[in-house]
Structures are given as C-alpha cells and as structure tokens.
C-alpha cells in the first residue's frame, strides 16, 4: 500500500478567526469531517476536523474558550455541520449563534439541558 | 435485464430441509468458547474483589466475611472482563445463554463450610500474630523510652 497514516495536524485558533479559516480550508480542497466539544478544566475545547480525501490528511481547528463566549456557526459555509453544532449546543451548552437549522435543544430527547456541560461539574 | 432470475433458487429452497432449528424443542449446539454466562468455582475464590472493580456494569458483589459471590444475571453483559481479571482463574465463561425471566434476580454462591472454617482459622491466626507483633513492638518501645 502506498498511503501511510499522515500526522494529524492541530491548529489553535481564536473564535473570531473560525469562519475565515473554515472558508480557507474549504477553498483549498478540504472537506468537513466532524466537530466536537469537550469540557477541560472549566473551558470548552471545540475541535473542527477537516479531511483531504486525496492525501487522507486530517486538519483540526481547535478553539479554547470560556463557557460564556459566543461562537459563530459554520453552517452557512459547510451545510454538513448542522447536526454537530446542534449536538455541541445541546450536550455542552456551547453558545453557537445562527445555526442554519436550529433544533433548539430538541435534537436528542433528553430531560436535562446541557448534561455534559458546566452545570454538571458544579454539582 | 432478466425476468425470474431468482426462480431456480426459490424452487430449490422449496424442497430443501429448513435452514432454521425448532429452537425450544431442539437443543441448540454452541461452539467451544461461546460466551454464555459466568460460572465460578467458589471454593478457589479468595474474595479479593478484582472482578467487582473490573465489571463495567457493576453486576457483581463480593462479601469477604460471609464468603459469598453474588452476580446479577440480568445486569451481566457476558463481556468476560472479570474472567480476564481474576487472579486465581476461578471464573469461567460457560456455554448457554441466560434465560429470560419475569423479574431480575441475583445468584449468590457461598463457599463450602470447610473452606469457610479454614479461612476463619487463617484469619484468627493472622490476627493473633499481628497482636503478638504489636505487643512486642510496644514492649520494645517502652523499654527504649526507659533506657
């Protein structure tokens, strides 16, 4: 086999640069793979992964922010991100504004709001 | 494009023996190593509790003093992690799945009286030795204080 696992690239960015970088990556032939949130030491870590299916490379944008900051939605650029952003919003309570198709915390039918978010750690 | 492509196969199936078994009437045959349920040879158990800590589901309970090993058969997911973790290798994975029932129930296995008595004896001796050692230490300490 000729293709070997390329190193996963991780790029730290600010929340305000997100849309710009996503647009640049999309222009250079990457496609959106996944987005997820994690709560590490009281801060949100948001990862947006993009992959290049020609070289099998994986490029991840990482935003570390406090739990109150608003993050712009990337669904205008990448329609595929709808579910991922709704999930981040619902499970962690990440404040994402202007999602194309906002389920308003009704993506999963769960009773709690933001069960994996900040509220849980305070308990 | 062809019509009735599957007809020969369907006709063949019509005259073949059934591919399924009449399950409850006919005993199923499990291959060697099938993960059905957990079995314990309780007299080899040392009540260390490794299986309790390993179980991803919290289906196991061990009582060291009473010498019992309890499993909630309906919580057990038959993953075999307790079997892997057991230091005395007294847990086994046996063939045959847990049969369904109207309510959840636990199975408790108790060590035989001889083993329990031997363990009690061992504990008593250990406690005695510990007490002796402690007394000796204290005596030594008080002597040192005097000296």
């Amino acid at each position: 086999m000729d293709i070997k696992i390329p190193e996963n690239e991780l790029e730290m960015i600010e929340g305000s640069d997100l849309l710009k970088r996503v647009l640049e990556l999309k222009k250079s032939g990457f496609r959106f793979s996944q987005a997820n949130a994690a709560l590490i030491d009281g801060n949100f870590e948001l990862s947006y992964s993009f992959s290049d299916y020609e070289t099998y490379g994986l490029h991840t944008l990482r935003i570390v922010t406090d739990t109150e900051q608003e993050i712009p939605s990337i669904t205008q650029i990448v329609p595929a991100a709808v579910f991922y952003e709704n999930e981040m919003k619902e499970l962690y309570g990440v404040k994402i504004k202007m999602i194309d198709l906002d389920y308003r915390d009704k993506l999963y039918r769960i009773r709690q709001t933001a069960p994996m978010g900040k509220q849980k750690t305070e308990e | 494009m062809a019509l009735m492509k599957f007809a020969p196969e369907a006709l063949k199936n019509l005259f073949m023996k059934p591919a399924t078994k009449m399950y409850p009437n006919e005993e199923p045959v499990y291959p060697e190593g099938s993960r059905g349920h957990v079995k314990i040879s309780i007299d080899d158990c040392i009540s260390c509790g490794m299986c309790v800590r390993a179980c991803p589901n919290g289906a196991l309970k061990v009582d060291r003093n009473a010498g019992t090993w309890t499993i909630d058969r309906f919580d057990c997911i038959a993953c075999g992690y307790c079997v892997l973790k057991c230091p005395k290798k007294c847990l086994f994975m046996e063939k045959g799945y847990q049969v369904p029932g109207p309510e959840k129930k636990e199975d408790t296995y108790t060590k035989s009286p001889e083993v329990l008595a031997a363990e009690e004896e061992k504990r008593r001796i250990a406690a005695m030795k510990a007490a002796e050692a402690k007394a000796a230490m204290e005596a030594k300490a008080s002597e040192e204080k005097k000296g």
Partner: protein, 360 residues
C-alpha cells in the same frame, strides 16, 4: 403546482429497524423538503465515558452498535494504543483485520436483505439472511459471541484463532462465495430489482463532498475514499483498491456493497495466508494514557471517528464517537428532495442507517 402538505415518516416504519423521524414536505407526490429529527434512542455513552476507566471503556465502545460492534471496539483500542505508543503484535493486527472483515460481510448481507425486503422481494431477503447466518456462526466459533465480540483490549486481542478454526473460516467462505454469486446475479440483473433501483436518488460528487457523506454511500457517487487505505490494523500489508462507482443512484450503492462482499472475502483469504505464526497476542499496558488522538477507520457504513483525550488519569477526559450515519443524514435529506414519496423508504434504506449508533 399542488398544495403543500407535511407527511411524517417514522419513527415507526416498516423499512426501519430503528427510530428516525423525517418530516416530508410534499407537493402532490413529490417531496420538496425533508427535515430529519433523531434522538429517540439517545443513551449517553459519551457521558458514560467520564465514569469508567479506559480499560472498561472497550466494552462500552463495543456496545455502541450491534452490527459494527467489533470495529467500534477496535477503533477505540487503536486510538488509545496510539496515544500510549503501543505497538500491537503482528498476529493481533491480522486477527483484528480478519474479524473486522467478517463483520463487514455480515453487515453488508444484513443490509442487502433489508433492501430486498424494502422493495418487496421477500425470498431474496430470506436468502441473504440465511447466508449471513453462516458468518454469525463463524463469529461465535472464533470470538465467542454472535454479534458482540469482546475480544479487543487495549494492547492487543484476548483470543487467538487457532489453525483448524482458520481452516473452518476458509471453507465456510468458499461456500458463502458460491451462494453470493447466485444472489449477485439476482441483484444485478433481475428486472424487479432494476426497476426499483436504477436512476433513483441520484447525488453528484460535489453534493456528497459538500454534505460530508462517507462510506459506500459516498463511493457510489465517485468519491474515491476508503479509510482502510490508511493502513490501520494489518491493512497496510494487504492489497486492495476502493470500489468506486460514478452513477450515484441506489443501484450503484447496492453494487458497491455487493462488490465489497467479494472484496472482504478476498481480504480475509489473503490475511489468513499471511498471518504470522508467532503466538504473541498482546503487549503489556503500563500507566495511563496522556494525550489526544483522532482515529479514523472504515466501518461497513463508512468512516467513523474516534476522538480520545486523556490526561494521565485512568478516566478519560473525553471520548467522542462520530458514527457514519451521523455524517450521512444531511446528504440523505438532500437526496430525498424531488423524489416520489413511494421511494422514500427505499432511499432511507440505501444509506444503511444505524440510528442507535448515531445517537450513542
């Protein structure tokens, strides 16, 4: 132009084994918009990851999905092994490959059966599942479970497949191969099948890339991607090329999965031929993982993501599973536009939806 009305599809529907709900906005018989909603079977497995230690989590990860159970366990283990820098023995890698391909065969056969059931060909459905039964028996013979294998652990595999069992696999695969050739000609040539599948639900390569679809669904539209090319497990020592079609319709999706069955059989034969004789199955695991990794692997339904982040404690900070169906649903809704309402059930089936693992 007719009046618009909304028809709910699911969560209970004859073609769906699992609950997914789609609101179909229809004009006469044509679907103009589809709004999906999931969430009926959310189990919170990612939340559970914060309560179990990383060795127990293998069994949690495996139970994400009943059909691609083995590959979930493998993906999680490979991610943790990568963080800890463990080099798994070669025999364990080959065993993982063999099991992964066996579960791919059984998953694709399940799907082909459901598809046949979806377009009303009951006989073919029974035939597919009857062949699948032989593969399930192989699972139980080699791993001990018919669907949930529980043979993976961080650092290797628990069980070995001994020599005579490998021979059993080979002889069973020969039988399966012969039987598959019969149903292949039915799926590819029969008029009933072709009239339901040809030219239905076409998606272009650009649409697939925009909407992020993965797996056989994407390959049917000409996206040349197969995560096995990354060479995880023992795939770097086996030779294969991704099967790609340019048609982008339901027939192409059926074609891809059918051909992948034969590809999997070939891969298993090759892996059994090359399997090393040394008996090492695992490497000892010392300490706790510290770091993070994105693991990608090709499941029967497509590319799955495992994100593991650990900070030197036995309990992981975050485990995230992105299953293929989660990525395929946006593309599904795009595909449903401008189709007849009678085709909706079939189109939903062609992405091979696995809703329980989507919601984890």
């Amino acid at each position: 132009m007719g009046k618009r009305s909304v028809i709910p599809f699911g969560p209970q529907h004859p073609v769906l084994p699992e609950p997914i709900h789609i609101d179909l906005v229809v004009e006469d018989e044509k679907v103009v918009e589809a709004v999906p909603s999931i969430g009926f079977v959310h189990r919170g497995l990612e939340s559970l990851a914060e309560k179990k230690d990383f060795n127990q989590l293998v069994y949690v990860a495996e139970r994400t999905c009943g059909i691609c159970s083995f590959q979930h366990g493998m993906g999680y283990c490979e991610a943790v092994e990568h963080i800890m820098g463990l080099e798994v023995p070669r025999r364990a890698k080959f065993l993982r490959t063999i099991w992964a391909e066996l579960s791919r065969i059984h998953s694709h056969l399940l799907w082909l059966g459901l598809l046949a059931d979806g377009f009303g060909f009951e006989n073919l459905f029974y035939q597919c599942w009857r062949i699948r039964e032989k593969i399930l028996d192989l699972h139980e013979l080699t791993a001990g479970g018919r669907l949930i294998f529980s043979v993976n652990k961080v650092g290797g595999v628990i069980k070995d497949i001994e020599g005579d069992k490998l021979d059993t696999i080979l002889s069973t695969l020969d039988e399966v191969d012969d039987e598959l050739r019969v149903i292949r000609s039915v799926f590819f040539e029969d008029r009933t099948v072709l009239s339901r599948l040809k030219g239905v639900g076409i998606l272009s390569k650009e649409q697939i890339n925009d909407l992020g679809a993965v797996g056989p669904f994407a390959r049917a539209s000409g996206v040349r991607v197969d995560m096995r090319m990354l060479g995880y497990a023992a795939y770097d020592e086996l030779s294969f090329v991704p099967i790609v079609s340019n048609d982008g319709d339901c027939y192409a999706r059926c074609f891809i999965r059918m051909m992948e069955l034969f590809q999997s059989i070939k891969l298993i034969r090759e892996a059994i031929g090359k399997i090393p004789a040394e008996k090492d199955l695992e490497v000892p695991v010392k300490g706790n993982p510290d770091g993070e990794y994105f693991m990608r692997l090709e499941q029967p339904r497509g590319e799955a993501f495992y994100y593991v982040k650990a900070s030197g404690k036995p309990i992981l900070d975050r485990m995230r599973i992105r299953t293929p169906t989660f990525a395929n649903i946006p593309a599904l809704c795009e595909m449903l536009k401008n189709t007849e309402i009678a085709d909706v059930g079939l189109l939903v089936l062609t992405i091979d939806p696995c809703v329980s693992c989507t919601e984890r």
